[in-house]
């Protein structure tokens, strides 16, 4: 089996991987780096469970050849951090947006991309944007509500603190988030 060398950054850490050329990004993450939070629900590019951020864009790791990721930055659910990620997680738990948890990593990554966008979205727009992620357990209502809530909280957090939460520490107003 042909091997290739790939340099990429995973959760902000540079990695050099020598892997069989046919290895997918999902298999690289799961089998070579032990990052099993990226789930495989179909390996056909349909269910979205394998969604990761590749250079800040949500992609299907099952259809992405690892060898094509030379120089790329990858973030998986294990490395998804920061206020947007945390508010999204909190909204998921509060709304009941997960049951078995198998679709959840993909939902979080795809949802995070929307939350970070700071664009108010209608329910229909959220549904459209999330239509490539399949959940067999929840029936989606709670997932859609959780993402809607996290989007508005993200927008509020960006605009509100400057006016309503005075801080003595002198922390920059914009982008200060709870």
């Amino acid at each position: 089996m042909n091997e290739v060398t790939v340099h990429l950054t995973v959760q902000h850490q540079p990695r050099t991987m020598i892997i069989p050329a046919r290895t997918t990004l999902a298999d690289l993450l799961r089998d070579h780096l032990g990052l099993t939070g990226t789930h495989l629900g179909c390996e056909q590019g349909v269910c979205g469970a394998c969604t990761v951020l590749l250079d800040d864009l949500p992609v299907r790791a099952c259809l992405t050849l690892a060898a094509a990721c030379e120089g790329a930055e990858v973030i998986t659910v294990e490395g998804l951090e920061g206020p947007d990620a945390e508010r999204l997680r909190a909204c998921f738990a509060e709304q009941g947006a997960l049951q078995c948890g198998f679709c959840t990593p993909g939902m979080l990554l795809a949802g995070y991309y929307l939350v970070r966008g700071r664009q108010p979205l209608s329910r229909e727009e959220v549904c459209q944007a999330m239509s490539g992620n399949i959940c067999r357990c929840t029936g989606y209502n709670a997932i859609v509500r959780a993402i809607e809530a996290a989007i508005s909280q993200g927008i509020e957090a960006e605009t509100a603190p400057a006016q309503t939460v005075p801080r003595s520490s002198g922390a920059p107003a914009a982008g200060t988030e709870e």
């Binding site: 349909v46 738990a93 959220v126 067999r136 989606y140």
Partner: protein
Amino acid sequence: MTTGDSTPARRYGIGARTPRREDARHLAGRGSFVSDVKLSGLREVAFVRSVVAHGRITAVSVPDDAEPGSVWTAADLAQLAEPLTATSTLAGFRAAPLPNLAADKVRYVGEPIAVAIAGTRAEAEDLAARITVDITPLPAVVGFSDALAHNAPKVHNDWPDNIFATTSGDVGDVDAAAREAAVSVTREYTMNRQAVVPLEGRGVIAHYDRSADRLSVWSSTQTPHMIREMIAILLGIEARRVRVIAPDMGGAFGSKCSLYPEEVALAAIAMKLDHPIRWVEDRWEGMVASTQARDHHYLVTAHAAADGTLLGVEADILVNGGAYSVYPWTATMDATMAAAMIPGPYRVRNYRFRTRSVAANKAPSGPYRGVGRPGACFAIERTIDELAHELGLEPYEMRLKNMVRPDEMPYTSVAGKVYDSGDYPEAVRQAAVLIGHDTWRKRQRGVPTDSRHRIGIGYGSCTEQTAHGCVEWATRGLAITIGTEGARLEMDATGGFTLSVGIKSHGQGSETTLAQVVSEVFDVEPEHVTVIHGDTALTPRSEGTFASRSMVMAGGASYGAARQLAQKVKRIASVLLDEPVEDLRLRDHAVVGRAGSLGYRELAKEFLFTPDHVPGIEGGLEATYYYRPAVETGAFSYATHAAVVDVDLDTGGVTLLDYAVVEDCGTVVNPLIVEGQIVGGVAQGIGSALLEELVYGDDGQPKSSSFLDYLLPGTTEIPELKIGHLRTASPNTVFGMKGTGESGAIMPPAAIGNAVTDALREFGAQANETPMTPQRVWTALRDAQDAMAPIAETVS
């Protein structure tokens, strides 16, 4: 057992909307599913499977250079494991041994033939591709007419025909009802075959540890204890040597509660190897070789009086069970359930039925959320609407008129089911209000006749038997009569709780709800209770999670164990506080008396570290309780669903405009989780109604074996549901709980089928087959317009 003492409502107990304890690990990507398990020396398995639906195996050739122990065929496995044979006590039932690996004949595409083992899955697939299988094809049996034809090829050569079993019944006097009736209608209904599709497929790891003489099997299974016992029996070893672990599971919905050949094959092979082996089902395998579901056909005749009173029902039911009976359910499970559920929530007293469970060259059928009920509900509820239409009644009025009333509870249905409690008509009334019935009727009437769209309103009602005991399973012919659950609760030396249960939570949130049961008794936050499930070495014997039984059965067992332990804790406190047991209460992590109080932590430390300080109390700070319901006929949940659809007359496309559910699952343990079960169930039911169909060609080739051609509902297909709740405690269960895992999935085909038919009334087209794809709806519309002839019905 009842809730007994007058415990005030606990903060985290029954009814609390506590957040799920499972969430943190899944939200962090730290769940551990079978495919995530890390074991040293683990090698991966790929199966060679039949690509022919029906045929004779003439040769299986293994590559000469395959390493010893890397390829296994039926010949290798023959001495290691018996084939699985599901039996039934139903008269005339025909058993068919289910081979672990096919030996002489293959009976469906996807049937396992050989095992290839290598360092990675990709390499195992490379090896599998080099194993050649020669098969002489035989004509395949696919649909009902093929299977029942006089000269049909036989799926099992030693059977006289292709029928697993026939059942029938005749209660009351249907013929007299027919003579009395003002209206009789006859309709045919089809609910096509579906895949179950948990997002995580099946997966198995097997490892024989020579030093411990223990075979460990990890499996994504709803029934770890049952799997353990059957693996031991089929391998001819004592079950003490087998441990089954079900780690985190990505859903199951019934598809992971039968024993599978892959589990037996891996276990048998692992006994001969010195390293663990793992097989993870890929999506193609999931679509062709996991148990499938539905595939029902109904011929229903119903008779009603002019005032809408339902007088009698006749049903001829066919279920395509696929090639084999799965253990322990057998291929007759759907048919017997469907026959019992055709009378629905109605007071009908005359009922005649026949069921035939048919064998065909498709993957074996197994349980799927609702088991038989979605089809039966579709058939009877569509028929109720047809009667209502003939009589000029609003369909919901027809339901109100005929439903069992609360003052008639408990009510024994014409099929012998004992409906325990509830207000069925109230669910209909509230569903009509919730959906805005009158407003939609107005809007419907306002649609101009030249519009290319129509609006329709439809209802579906059903009762759902849950958490039934031995009696029920025995009447359905099961060789094992299920009906007991165990739980063990320990308080440790730091005052923490560990609850061990043999059921397997796989998305239902039982780690949360069972902890709430302990909270209810001990008044501690659920995070102080560890719930262990899914490991036969750590949990009391159990039957598993299926049939909407876990909350009632394992909840009942957990409550029993908690009450026993609470008694002991109070006795210990009574000694230490020097107060009578009757004066002691459990409050906020402590035993509280009139004079003093003692925290669980101090109490446990005192009792376990220095038992001599607590004279007269026997050792051990734990209790085990086995729950068996006193009334074994089950606790019946019920619901009415209402759907509003838009039908596009040019494309046949159906869009859901609104959807409402009014349900009653008795006492609710956690509203967040119950709502999740309802919405998730409805989404699957919408899939059944509109999207999902496993299509088989005439040659038995599965044609929808990927997510590209098997359509699952997505975010854009499921509207935000309106949900109303009724709460009638079951008299038969602890706390009055009723199961609710399946209910949501049962009614959508009925409600949506009625709505689509309502939309198309003026054209005379009916939605009598699921899924109601654009093509089916469009064809029904065209045929109705072409014919403009009445469908088989008699008006006397």
